[in-house]
Symmetry: D2
Subunit: 327 residues, 4 copies
């Protein structure tokens, strides 16, 4: 399978994965999870929404919790390089006949709302309100000591299509999984803009759906500690997978589910990918080290469950291959 290179002259400049909004059915319960258990800081909150940031973040929010009847993901957000890039983005999406709009977003500057070819809701912005960086205020660190949002991982019904779309927007491939045999096909891709393993990843599956957001901690011991805390906070059943070491990305990770089953991956120690001649790393779908270096197979829920995007009906995937699943 020839791997398409990132567009060296993308139509507009995406800086990084920035934030996600979660529709949640009980704000208090979600607050207990994100704030009291994981240790997120509240930038603003009212009876309908809670805006969260992690200790390193100056941007007003990287997670927005929105009171709703049903769990869903209204949007995933990316920061672009300037207001002009927003206009270029609006032009490009409109030219490709994707829907575009500029709704009001609290605490954000001009925000372009659009989607990909499967209807996955995307928003782009340049300016967001700034809050104090708490990175050096260690007395304010709580629980998991999460530093910042790192990446967004989605199911797509067609990995090749999602990959081509993102390549054109300038995302660089760092690692990928293929089926084996003469006519190998993409099973999953990891793509970045900011210089580490990923901003955005796609895995073959019923989609579009959000698989997880990944959030960065400074040390594996922070992740071990949150395992202990989740137990004594009553969230032990929310621990879905890990802690362990991914083969992919080399990251030490823990995957947890929030009270609405939105998945959050705590994540640390991947690597630098800024070199333009950095060769993507290929994994066979049959390689057991792909999922984890430590031999722990992922549970079936990892391959099957994800969050629906608001008002987007997922499609069946084009590939029917089976990854290795824990019995």
């Amino acid at each position: 399978m020839p791997i398409r290179k990132a567009n060296p002259e993308p139509p507009f400049n995406i800086i990084r994965a920035s934030h996600v909004a979660f529709d949640v059915s009980d704000l208090d319960r979600s607050r207990a999870f994100y704030v009291d258990c994981l240790g997120y800081l509240i930038s603003d909150a009212d009876s309908n929404a809670i805006y969260l940031r992690a200790v390193e973040e100056r941007n007003h929010h990287s997670i927005v919790l929105l009171k709703a009847d049903n769990a869903a993901v209204p949007v995933i957000g990316f920061k672009v390089s300037s207001e002009e890039d927003l206009d270029r983005a609006a032009f490009w999406f409109a030219h490709k006949e994707y829907p575009t709009s500029f709704p009001e977003r609290p605490y954000q500057g001009r925000t372009l709302c659009t989607c990909d070819m499967f209807g996955m809701p995307l928003e782009f912005y340049y300016r967001m309100d700034q809050r104090n960086c708490m990175l050096r205020n260690y007395a304010e660190y709580k629980c998991a000591r999460i530093q910042r949002i790192d990446h967004i991982n989605c199911f797509t019904p067609d990995v090749q299509a999602s990959f081509d779309f993102c390549s054109e927007l300038g995302f660089w491939l760092t690692e990928y999984t293929e089926t084996d045999g003469g006519n190998s096909q993409l099973w999953a891709v990891w793509m970045h803009r900011k210089g580490n393993v990923h901003e955005l990843a796609f895995t073959n599956g019923r989609g579009p759906r959000l698989h997880h957001i990944g959030v960065w901690t400074a040390s594996a011991l922070d992740i071990l500690y949150i395992c202990d805390v989740m137990d004594s906070s009553g969230f032990v059943a929310n621990m879905e997978r890990g802690p362990g070491r991914h083969g992919i990305s080399n990251a030490f990770f823990l995957c947890v589910r929030d009270p609405d089953n939105h998945r959050v991956e705590l994540f640390t120690s991947d690597y630098l990918t800024v070199d333009p001649d950095h060769e993507p790393l290929r994994w066979s779908l049959r390689d057991p080290q792909r999922q984890t270096l430590w031999g722990h197979q992922a549970p079936a829920s990892w391959f099957e469950e994800g969050s629906f995007f608001s008002d987007v009906r997922p499609r069946q995937p084009v590939l029917q291959e089976q990854p290795i699943v824990a019995r």
Copy 2:
């Protein structure tokens, strides 16, 4: 179930769990596991035996690998307080009509060989050859950076009987598991002499068999690192359980199997138990936190597999209760 207190005036003074001998079928393969992968130091070796110690240990050996046709455990060893204690021990066991002998043991002083009521082979000694403590020679630390032997864990066909035997010898109970209901019975016990959670533990099962030896590391990160090393050393399939946090003992642990399936538990961060009024901690057999605080159920092999003691035929256990096992 009334818990019998440790005998305050035991017939002889046991200091601690000291060593174990493993019959192994391929010395080179075992050396690759214990020395190259786990990082044990070789105190002495010849074509029939390898004597191993960890970085803190001054005693000549805490693990002895013996070339043999079949995997087995010839003996588990305990250090006593003096030569006089050895004589008192010999008298006590002989008086109780257990077999006693004083065979030659390389690198050990006078050594009493005997057994418990199920035939589990025990040896006691006071003097062992001393080697340099490498605790401050950090450049010699390898891989798992194991500091010392911590404990020995066995299956017994009758936990109450094994517990009574050890209580009489002065072992203190720190934690125990009981069946629930009106006529609760002991399922497992953890007992110490040296002041932490255990020297010796017993679990209900076909026995006597060795379940595992536990070895101490200074930090949970040492245990995470050995997980990574085992993978790249070709021993990923030898990782059986963990890393994780036991509810019992509060220890952070990883369980691995050596090339003959003898089980070694890397273990850190339990607690101090020297107070004479330290109350034992009760766990219900049905409490899922007993096995692990993080919700990872133990695999069936954990409950079923163990090392045979040389020439000792295990018996069926008196209790037929079932613990919680990963599906």
Copy 3:
């Protein structure tokens, strides 16, 4: 210098270092330090006293803060093995013509108050009120995640005399510092009862004075974290020495001063010393690795400053040798 062995038949059985009382000039300020910054749990408090324990401790208190006009140390406390041991202790001290009394101590059972030959105030008890062990309640861990009291370190005007006194009471020597040359003399001693490096240490200096109490954490990373927290809590000036690695005891440590200049050492990763044939480790006073393996010389305050025991006038030390001090 011939090293006297611990008395194998001590007059009474001391279990371990148990607690210390600190006279402090401002309870609120001390609470901010011990509770808000270090993370101690409050077992009880009123307008005149705060009783503190760490997360592992079941005993009601290991630090007692007492409102007073001046900073001082009213007493250091040790747990004995039984009520009978208390009576044997009272007999022994009275027989040696030390003052003895049994005052009321809140939350403690019968408590013997006495002193050593230099007037250092000692108390012994067997029973103390018990509180819940919070070791597995990780959501309650704060800041330094201190687990328990580990040891007490004092200046003495005559190390040989203090050593002889403690040896007779059954303390075992683990490490010691001597002057060099033909007529070497003891400069410092580390002695244990509970099986690690020390319960009680003495250093040559104007004394008796308390040098520090040592408290145990599970990991060096806990100690790094409290360094970060002390800064952002406004206590950066209270960090006196470290973090670093002691040659003596091999411990990773950080020494901090409380608002009244009482010194607390956070401490982890020493080693097991229960073997009766464990040979004490000798250090030369001139060995720079004695203080730290990492080449950081101790500040002058480390050798000069300590807490006065209430109403005890320190004497000049018998040795006038100089250790290595940071310029």
Copy 4:
């Protein structure tokens, strides 16, 4: 002091700090330091040179040790985005009348050699031979487990001039130190291309001289471990500063000197700086937290000593202010 923004349209595209060459007086001694003690991998070596890379690095070398009569730094190297960028760089430097040449560099593609206005030797290249990434080969990790080069830090006689030069080349400012008062002047600057705190930093001092190279580890515990190893490897005197937490960059660090006194900083846990509206952080030269959050003042050698660039005579700095130095 108005802070000049990075040139949004730099004359050529620098990717990141890539490598440094060190003239060393004894290759064997340097090999003992970099390979046996720090754990660097050898990509190639002969009797005149050793090419080193860290475990994450695919590029052939990030440190080149060259046998020489005297310690010096022949060059610091940066990777650019393409061969065309090299040509653009050559044009720009020639146009500004800096010397330019394209000498042969082993294991590198076309390499442009030039310098800044103070004669600091720079080289730029796009292609370098690739070697296997050892990031997932944990059994090959040794000692400090250094992952990759992170940054280069230099003394300059005129921080404002060096800053303006680098801003024009597209380096972004992340943190800076100023003198206080009405006419504040730049004392030090930290500038990046790759998205963390820095590629290149300048401090006021006799220069140009190399202050240090910074190398990345995955965890603070890796840095603690190398402290222990340096002692037992005989390099304790080579530990100059730390471990500690910089206020600047928030990094956990340790500074060591190689056998020729070239300085290497082990470094972890800074933060993401890719946002174009990321505001630089200002520090006052008088702020003690600037150097370290933990109150450890830097030794005088930190402010005074650096490596000479080959055949470049340093000048006196334009600012004569004094930072805070340990007495």
